[in-house]
Amino acid sequence: MEKIMKKNPGYFCLFLLPTLLAFMIGFVVPFGMGIYMSFCKFNTLKDIEWVGIENYTKIFMADEGEIFLNSFWFTALFAVISTVAINVIAFMVAVLLTKNFGGTNIFRTIFFMPNLLGGVLLGTIWKILLNGVLVTMRETLTTNGTNGFIGLLILMIWQQVGYMMIIYVAGLQGISDDLKEAAKIDGANSKQILFKITIPLVMPSISMCTFLTLTNGFKLFDQNLTLTGGGLKHNSEMLALNIYNTFYSRVGWKGVGQAKAVLFFLLVGAIAIAQLKITQSKEAD
């Protein structure tokens, strides 16, 4: 195949074209328009009017800014805690399920299953479940921000552990038993084997999984919308939902929502790059 590409660059371009077109139409063009529209007042794509940086100043206008910052801190805290929790649990489950005992495949399937359900469905189901428990304490998911936070955390752990577990299982199975055996003969205990052999060797899986969970945490939307809907007085409103709510909150504020989306993109991009750099530097060659 590679030879065909080299001999006939024409084909190379031909085959690339559909994907490139789809990428342009589905990503590059909307992205460019999105940035442009964050400087505009608009209602539909037919009535775009340039207003300069007005949208960006409105983000921090009066109580709006406070709500936006609150949702930023809520999101940041959630992303960090959920990343740690999901990865630790997923790793533990993966270590367990790579041991030699019967039924590991069945358990892997069961743990993976929540991932096949959509976020909206999960949010709705967990809302009924968690509210059912909370009403016995005369509370609901939206009574305060903490309830919403813990609810979201439970939901996301339940949903994502299975997926991350599969990645860790693959990583763990890639480690040769010879290494562990050699370490054992040299007198290393199981704790030392875990921290000195296993974890450094699955570092690529760890950076992959932390990247996925961290960015997922930041851009969480469906689950937030259906589980708490942003909660009472925005107390469990994460960034993505805050942007969505701003977009449709009132006449003439679509541009403000768009401007928030641009800031959001810069933020998530910067965090993702920083995180990749840090974990990649720890990966064993």
Binding site: I4, Y11, L14, P18, K46, R138, T142, L232
Partner: protein, 436 residues
């Protein structure tokens, strides 16, 4: 050989993408036998419960006239979202809806001047035309709806009370308190739960909140304002206290109750009173006999409320997309006129959608709640107008709704102050944000 495979693959790929493109074009059109030269009608409908009836009407119209009619219905609560994205398309809706002044502010560039159209002349009264500041008709109200407190008379009598007893807030409270006190022995409570989950919170953050707005407007002799005073908020608190106290659910957990649960409490005979409108008849029909139903005004303890009627109005105005092709605009106007004047059309509107329309040739729907609403009007009670359309924004409603939920969780003067802040200060700050 390799070259041939490559060429084959490439052409196959091009063909599939071309096919995919064609397929996506095709899905836009629907009805067969349509004649493109006669224009194209595309209506983005607001009411999911009426979707089926609209689709049937569209089909019937295409068969009769050859004009292609497409109906798309936005999912509940997503009309503005859907409209924004549909309007951005080349094949934008030719007929859409606005909810009054705020919807008009958003969509004024798209609202066709309907003043001299035949469709506008079909209205019984110009009160149902939405006019802009120049006095031009930009939207036509097409459905009159009424909400109030729906009563299960049978249960009311079982509890030892009569409907005639209730003539104002004081008597309503006396009856409701008594029913609530005996809930355990009776097996039913006074009010169905005032659920504040997102599927039902509109009944209170919008419909119930209309009462203090209405009372203030009436006292001040105005029909809109940018700075509300909240002079009738005590009345609001009266009725909200009653709803959350004399109900089967602990008021701390209202946010967990969905529309389906609240409706079921009423239709299953677990509650005597239920705040909702004529559109809820479909849920009640067959579960509670017509003769057991009654409709009470929402009493709040306002002065002279013995003469207050039900809340009747419209928040749906039909508009024609002024940016559509002239041919499509003509076709759309013809279609609407047909829907609201022809035998087939009026029959479907009244009997399948259950709408009471303000048009000369409209029929009265087979909806017992509409009949009760008409009786109330005929008896000379003065209806409460719908003032939602003067509410500044969605955020205002959410702010009031959140404050009401928080108050219900911990009723007290401090939590009620938060409702006041959301109601009064929120109103001003929302208008400031829109204009700022």
């Amino acid at each position: 050989m390799k070259k041939r495979i490559a060429v084959l693959l490439a052409s196959a790929m091009l063909m599939t993408s071309a096919l995919a493109g064609l397929a996506s074009c095709k899905s836009g059109g629907g009805n067969s036998g349509a004649d493109a030269s006669k224009g194209h009608v595309y209506y983005l409908s607001f009411k999911p419960e009426a979707d089926e009836a609209w689709q049937e009407l569209a089909k019937a119209y295409t068969e009769e006239t050859g004009v292609q009619v497409d109906i798309l219905t936005a999912a509940s609560g997503t009309y503005e979202t859907q409209l924004s994205s549909e309007m951005s398309k080349t094949d934008a809706p030719t007929i859409f809806q606005i909810n009054g002044p705020n919807g008009y502010a958003r969509w004024k560039d798209f609202c066709y001047d309907l003043t001299d159209t035949d469709f506008a002349k079909e209205l019984n009264s110009q009160d149902f035309a939405f006019k802009d500041s120049d006095g031009k008709t930009r939207g036509i109200g097409y459905v009159l709806e009424t909400y109030g407190i729906i009563v299960n008379k049978k249960l009311l009598e079982q509890s030892g009370h009569k409907l005639d007893e209730i003539t104002n807030f004081e008597t309503l409270k006396a009856v409701a308190d008594d029913i609530h006190a005996n809930a355990a022995t009776n097996g039913f409570d006074a009010f169905s739960t005032a659920g504040m989950e997102s599927s039902t919170d509109w009944r209170f953050k919008t419909h119930l909140a209309n009462l203090p707005i209405y009372l203030e407007y009436k006292a001040d002799g105005i029909d809109t304002t940018k700075t509300i005073k909240g002079s009738a908020l005590d009345n609001f608190r009266n009725i909200w206290d009653l709803y959350i106290t004399d109900a089967p659910t602990d008021s701390a957990v209202l946010a967990s109750k969905t529309m389906a649960e609240c409706t079921a409490e009423f239709t299953d005979g677990k509650a005597v009173f239920y705040q909702n409108g004529t559109w809820a008849y479909g849920d009640i029909k067959g579960k509670i006999a017509d003769e057991d139903l009654a409709y009470l005004p929402i009493y709040t303890g306002a002065e002279g409320e013995e003469n207050q009627g039900l809340c009747t109005g419209t928040e749906n105005y039909m508009c024609i997309n002024s940016q559509a092709d002239e041919k499509d605009i003509e076709a759309s106007l013809e279609f609407l006129k047909w829907v609201f004047t022809s035998e087939t059309g009026t029959d479907a509107v009244a009997n399948k959608m259950g709408f009471l329309t303000p048009f000369k040739s409209g029929k009265t729907p087979d909806n017992y709640l509409v009949k009760l609403a008409n009786d109330s009007l005929a008896s000379g009670k003065s209806p409460v107008s719908w003032n939602f359309s003067t509410i500044p924004s969605e955020d205002w409603k959410n702010g009031v709704g959140d404050a009401l939920t928080a108050y219900a969780a911990k009723p007290g003067d401090d939590t009620w102050d938060a409702v006041k802040v959301a109601f009064v200060d929120g109103w001003a700050s929302e208008y400031a944000k829109i204009e700022g």
